[in-house]
């Protein structure tokens, strides 16, 4: 399971973020070697209309975009509202705050410290990853999703 010694933080801006803003922020955050994992959370934006009479019709949405983070393509499936991070140590907090202040110029934000990521595998995780799941993957993606997390290589 996730080792309890790694501190976790949540960046919570007062607005839901545009893909361009997420891209700017992630490029600043992901370059920081003190951040182990980043989890983007927000309201889901489905590819097709999920219910109602128009169910199944295509759902073009300007917030569902592919962004580029340190050369890796990241498909945003949500309208990002909060960004959870697991850190190597609390020493990187000032640099996270600096990155947020640089990007969130038109609205305010808060940085919360606590436990925000999954600490134990659920039944769905067990079904997907088995008994010897890599603990770093837990909670990063919906276990029912066919897509895995984006791994940014070469920055550690």
């Amino acid at each position: 399971m996730t080792d309890a010694i790694y501190p976790q933080v949540r960046v919570a801006p007062v607005r839901l973020l545009n893909p361009e803003t997420v891209e700017q922020l992630l490029n600043r955050l992901a370059a920081n070697p003190g951040i182990r994992r980043i989890l983007l959370k927000g309201q889901s934006i489905p590819v097709t209309v999920p219910y109602g009479p128009a169910r199944g019709a295509p759902n073009p949405h300007s917030r569902r975009q592919t962004i580029n983070v340190l050369g890796e393509e990241v498909q945003l499936n949500t309208h990002v509202g909060t960004i959870d991070m697991e850190l190597e140590s609390a020493d990187v907090l000032p640099s996270i705050r600096a990155a947020c202040e640089e990007v969130f110029t038109k609205f305010s934000f808060s940085i919360l410290e606590g436990r925000f990521m999954k600490t134990q595998p659920t039944v769905s995780d067990y079904a997907k990853y088995g008994p010897n799941a890599d603990e770093i993957l837990l909670g990063l993606v919906d276990p029912k999703s066919r897509k895995g997390p984006v791994i940014l290589q070469g920055y550690r």
């Binding site: 803003t21 759902n59 949405h61 300007s62």
Partner: protein, 254 residues
């Protein structure tokens, strides 16, 4: 002395707005001009200009039974023609949207005839005969009850009421039925209320500014607007109702 409805308690601008909007004697201020055709397009029940489909023959033709109630109550235009029952549904943001679901149902019941309003936590639906609906929907959209950014016309997939706003001030919409045009600052509907793409954009006007919203909202909000706890009269009333209901639960004998 004739009965004079009080509509609701409260001494703040929010309470005053609630009373104003519910009062059928108060003329709602018209702030935008969305045409009949545009309303029909956004609702998506029929093609603009097409005949109204009917659910039954016109009342004049179908031979009404001899009924004292039918003699007392004049049918609406839609009922007279035998129109289908159709709906419009709104989602209102809690960030100072001018209307909110409960108020919508109250004001529709006070102001309109032949309607069936339904209140849910973050959305409100009103059903009635199609041609009456178009008339009522126009009033609901063109007056101060509506704001293009903070109120959405959403038939299905309505989530957004309690969410933070988008960076451009729009309420979250999973189907993005309307978008804010950055060039002219006008909100345009690109999909109808159930999420089907429209043949042409429907302009819903410019979003109202913060000051206007704060002066016209009917939602208490302690962070961005008027806090409920600042309204001593409303708090006193709610506490009284709460106390009476609780005591009644124990069936007090006095």
């Amino acid at each position: 002395m004739a009965y004079k409805p009080q509509y609701g308690p409260g001494s703040t601008v929010v309470a005053e707005n609630r009373r104003k909007y519910m009062n059928p004697g108060y003329k709602l201020e018209t702030v935008r001009d969305v045409t009949d055709e545009d309303i029909v397009l956004v609702m998506g029940h029929r093609a603009p200009g097409s005949a109204y489909p009917t659910a039954h023959p016109p009342l004049a033709e179908q031979g009404e039974p001899d009924c004292p109630i039918r003699k007392l109550v004049a049918p609406t235009e839609g009922a007279k023609a035998g129109d289908r029952v159709r709906y419009i549904q709104f989602a209102d943001s809690m960030y100072n949207a001018p209307s909110q679901p409960y108020l919508r149902s109250y004001l529709e019941a006070y102001r309109f005839r032949g309607v069936d309003p339904g209140t849910l936590s973050g959305r409100q639906i009103v059903e009635c005969r199609e041609r009456d609906l178009e008339k009522y929907a126009k009033e609901l959209v063109n007056t101060e009850l509506f704001d293009p950014a903070l109120v959405g016309i959403r038939g299905a997939t309505v989530h957004g009421h309690s969410l933070r706003l988008d960076e451009d001030g729009m309420m979250f919409d999973m189907l993005q039925r309307c978008v804010l045009d950055k060039k002219d600052g006008v909100v345009k509907y690109v999909k109808n209320q159930i999420g089907e793409a429209l043949d042409r954009e429907v302009k819903a006007g410019k979003p109202m500014d913060e000051k206007w919203l704060k002066a016209h909202t009917t939602i208490y909000h302690s962070v961005v607007g008027t806090a409920f706890r600042d309204d001593a009269e409303a708090v006193e009333y709610i506490q009284r109702i709460h106390a009476l209901r609780t005591k009644y639960g124990f069936m007090p004998k006095e």
